[in-house]
């Protein structure tokens, strides 16, 4: 049946996150942004709090690790994750990205790891009461972002190990990650077929954290450079094992990940956009211009409504993409549509919100959050594939034999 309602559990999750978001996270948000970090104590408390929110389960655990046992019944994992991600990003985008867990590293391990690898790499997140842990995803290099097949980090078999050499940049939680999924190539001239994905663990000899970036937005979330110098990685950490790479599977691993994560990133964008929209709405509701309530000015009302409906349009595509994922339907196009629309809708929401609130929007102390969201949102049209790259993914599925641009 066509239905657009959250389940009772999802509603509870949303309300739970919203109330913590409002009373606990929002008040800290600007401070974190200024200090460029979220204190670990806070993350630890938040982690146990979010566990209690869903009984013994971390709301993201199911998403990160995948269902414990296989069943044919569609699960609502992706839908629930989207609802949670939007709401937490509404509270603060940086904390959403700083949550302990495998993060963006989870989906490739889940999609391509052997059972042994999944157990080994996910088990460390099951109980983090003693220590918080993160995973990360290392694809981007100084010379290769959108053009994934241009990566130059090399891997060479040596006995039971691989030797990795290269540099990764802009890696979310890269510095503190317990392990990072690193993409490398045996032979750059082979393009995608030459690519391999490894799980590289912190402390592996030859694996260093480089520069920690100073950024426009998402300042409280760590973005790191990673350096691999004759880094020796056991062959057992080659994702999926040797035989998996007879084809272009390595590259497909990187891409498959995106079908699951793009809608979530889009959901976060909707959350930030919603924060800005609600701020502007409340401003409009509570203020008068020339003695008239602002919503009576058609041009401003229209502006406000336009922000809201663009976000709704994006959210409905997010929901469709995660619904497809939950039902095991191929959703690469829909995932990209959600991401492309959400990035744009949320960016213009943040820009327009500032404009609607007038000079207040950029000046006043009170409006500092609005200014922060405006800085945070930009990257949502950049990471996980820029808006342009999403349109390439979409158009490849619209045209016959389109090979890229």
């Amino acid at each position: 049946m066509l239905e657009f309602e959250l389940s009772a559990g999802q509603q509870q999750l949303r309300e739970g996150i919203r109330s913590i978001g409002k009373s606990v996270i929002r008040p800290m948000s600007l401070g974190w942004d200024k200090n460029k970090e979220i204190p670990e104590d806070f993350l630890r408390n938040f982690y146990s709090m979010s566990k209690s929110l869903q009984g013994a389960e971390n709301p993201m655990a199911d998403y990160n690790e995948g269902p414990k046992e296989k069943s044919n019944k569609p699960r609502s994992t992706n839908r629930t994750a989207a609802v949670g991600a939007e709401e937490l990003a509404w509270a603060d985008a940086s904390i959403m990205l700083s949550l302990p867990g495998p993060g963006l590293g989870g989906p490739p391990v889940r999609a391509s790891g052997t059972p042994e690898q999944k157990e080994r790499f996910f088990s460390i997140f099951r109980d983090m009461s003693d220590q918080l842990r993160w995973g990360a995803y290392g694809l981007t290099e100084p010379g290769a972002g959108s053009d994934v097949k241009a990566i130059r980090t090399t891997c060479r078999k040596d006995g039971d190990d691989y030797i990795l050499n290269g540099r990764k940049c802009y890696i979310t939680n890269g510095g503190r990650a317990a392990w990072v999924v690193i993409f490398a190539t045996v032979d750059a001239s082979q393009g995608r077929a030459g690519q391999r994905a490894f799980v590289v663990e912190q402390g592996t000899p030859g694996f260093f954290v480089g520069k920690i970036e100073d950024k426009l937005g998402l300042r409280a979330n760590e973005t790191a450079e990673l350096v691999l110098e004759d880094c020796r990685v056991p062959a057992a950490n080659l994702l999926g094992g040797e035989e998996k790479y007879q084809s272009k599977e390595g590259f497909m691993t990187a891409m498959k990940t995106f079908d699951n994560t793009r809608p979530l990133v889009a959901a976060m964008a909707c959350g930030i956009g919603k924060a800005a929209y609600e701020y502007a709405r409340d401003f409009v509701k509570d203020n008068y211009m020339l003695g008239r309530p602002i919503p009576r000015y058609a041009a401003l009302a229209e502006r406000l409504a336009r922000i809201s409906r663009r976000l709704e349009a994006a959210r409905i595509l997010v929901w469709k993409a995660v619904w497809m994922a939950d039902h095991g339907k191929p959703n690469a196009k829909e995932a990209s549509m959600a991401k492309a629309l959400a990035g744009q809708a949320a960016i213009s929401a943040c820009i327009d919100a500032i404009e609607i609130c007038g000079a207040h929007g950029t000046l006043s102390e009170d409006h500092a959050l609005l200014e922060k969201w405006f800085r945070d949102i930009k990257v949502y049209d950049i990471f996980e594939g820029t808006g342009q790259i999403q349109r390439i993914v979409i158009s490849k599925r619209l045209m016959t034999n389109l090979r890229g641009f």
Binding site: L6, L300, L317, L398
Partner: protein, 404 residues
């Protein structure tokens, strides 16, 4: 639960309507345009399928399938030809106005002819002249005996030529207060009522197979029983009427978005320039991707809004969802029509290709019922929990002073 799967029944209707759209409406769109009407055989087929009354309760001769099904039907028909739904009997605002404004007894009477396959009625809202003294209809209903006498000039009345009766909006003598649009009322007028005259048919930009015309009321007498009171809140009932009808119109825009997109995508796949299909140029491919996002998001927003009405969500929720869906669909359709012509190049400008018609239809459809701007105003008022006062939420009927 969030789900994008239609029910089995809805899927069947979608399939049937889709087939009809593809095999009959699309190939005959130009024929209907030239004839300036939808052919009788098609009227009959669609009438027999009962599609116009899909959302009407069974007690009144409908199929009681809900607004969502009506939305799917409108989208499906429009996918074949974006103008046809406007020329079909029973697809105008009449059925929706009747459902919201009439009492149960009145409704049976109003819908019986339609259920029996007759053309049905029309709604006369828009005024030829603007009123200067206060916000109200220029057309008046003065009290006379037990009833009223209607006088005025209406325009833009859709389906006027075939209508057997009209729902006429007017300013009721002695009922107005200081509030704008206070004292407004709606009355049923039979076509053969003395004093009622049809004016000339409007020449229009698009939707040529549908007729829009003037209606002159010169001392037309009606009874108290002909007054449609809309329950206890006339403004709210009128708003519900416009919202629900506008949503079916938005669904037609979605059909237009999807068909213009499909046609354009196919063209870009085969049309070659500089040695490759034009769709393989990024600027073209990205435009297609954007229009695809428009079509899909507008479609799902319309479905969500209809779902909310059917699920009896709070009025404000239904209204907000509807406003968002309608505004987005109108804008999306304009972009889809425009880019369809653009990406066809010179061919797009020629009548041999259907997209120029779609572009004209899209613009005209965007002015039916409530416009994107009006819907945005409604959505903003709901969002700000401001009062839904009639002068802000209802389409202005009195802005037609430019017509003479």
């Amino acid at each position: 639960m969030i789900s994008f799967e239609p029910t089995e029944d809805q899927r069947l209707i979608q399939e049937t309507v889709g087939e009809l759209a593809k095999t009959t409406l699309a190939p005959r769109a130009r024929e209907f345009e030239a004839a300036r009407e939808v052919a009788d055989d098609v009227q009959q087929v669609i009438g027999e399928m009962g599609l116009a009354l899909a959302a009407v309760p069974e007690a009144h001769g409908g199929q009681e399938l809900g607004l969502l099904t009506a939305v799917l039907i409108n989208e499906g028909l429009s996918r074949g030809d974006s103008a046809t739904p406007f020329g079909l009997h029973g697809f105008g605002p009449y059925v929706w106005a009747a459902q919201e404004l009439a009492s149960s007894d009145q409704l049976t009477d109003l819908l019986t002819p339609l259920a029996a396959g007759k053309p049905g009625g029309a709604v006369a809202w828009s005024e030829v002249k603007a009123r200067k003294d206060r916000a109200a209809f220029v057309t008046t209903a003065s009290k006379s005996g037990d009833g009223y006498t209607l006088s005025g000039s209406k325009c833009f009345v859709g389906g006027v030529a075939a209508a057997d009766r009209f729902i006429v909006f007017a300013d009721v003598e002695g009922e107005a207060t200081d509030a704008p649009w206070s004292g407004s009322g709606a009355f049923v007028v039979k076509r053969d009522a003395p004093g009622l005259k049809l004016g000339k048919r409007h020449e229009t930009l698009g939707l040529a197979c549908a007729d829009f015309g003037r209606l002159e009321l010169d001392g037309v007498d009606v009874n108290e029983a002909d007054r449609l009171r809309g329950g206890d809140d006339f403004v709210a009932a009128t708003l519900r009427f416009f919202a629900r009808y506008s949503l079916t119109v938005a669904a037609r825009q979605v059909g237009l978005c999807k068909s213009s997109f499909d046609i354009t995508r196919d063209y870009c796949d085969i049309r070659e320039a500089f040695g490759k299909p034009i769709g393989h140029f990024q600027a073209v491919a990205f435009t297609l991707a954007d229009r695809h996002m428009d079509a899909e998001s507008a479609g799902e927003l319309c479905r969500r809004a209809a779902w909310a009405w059917d699920a009896r969500k709070p009025f404000e929720t239904c209204l907000a969802y509807t406003a968002q869906a309608v505004a987005h669909a109108h804008e999306a359709a304009m972009r889809c029509g425009d880019d369809a012509v653009q990406l066809h190049g010179g061919a797009g400008f020629m009548r041999d290709v259907i997209v120029e018609k779609m572009m004209r239809d899209a613009k005209q459809t965007a002015l039916v019922g409530m416009t994107a701007e009006q819907m945005d105003q409604v959505a903003a008022l709901v969002a700000c929990r401001a009062k839904l006062t009639p002068e802000l939420v209802l389409p202005t009927p009195d802005a037609q002073a430019i017509l003479t």
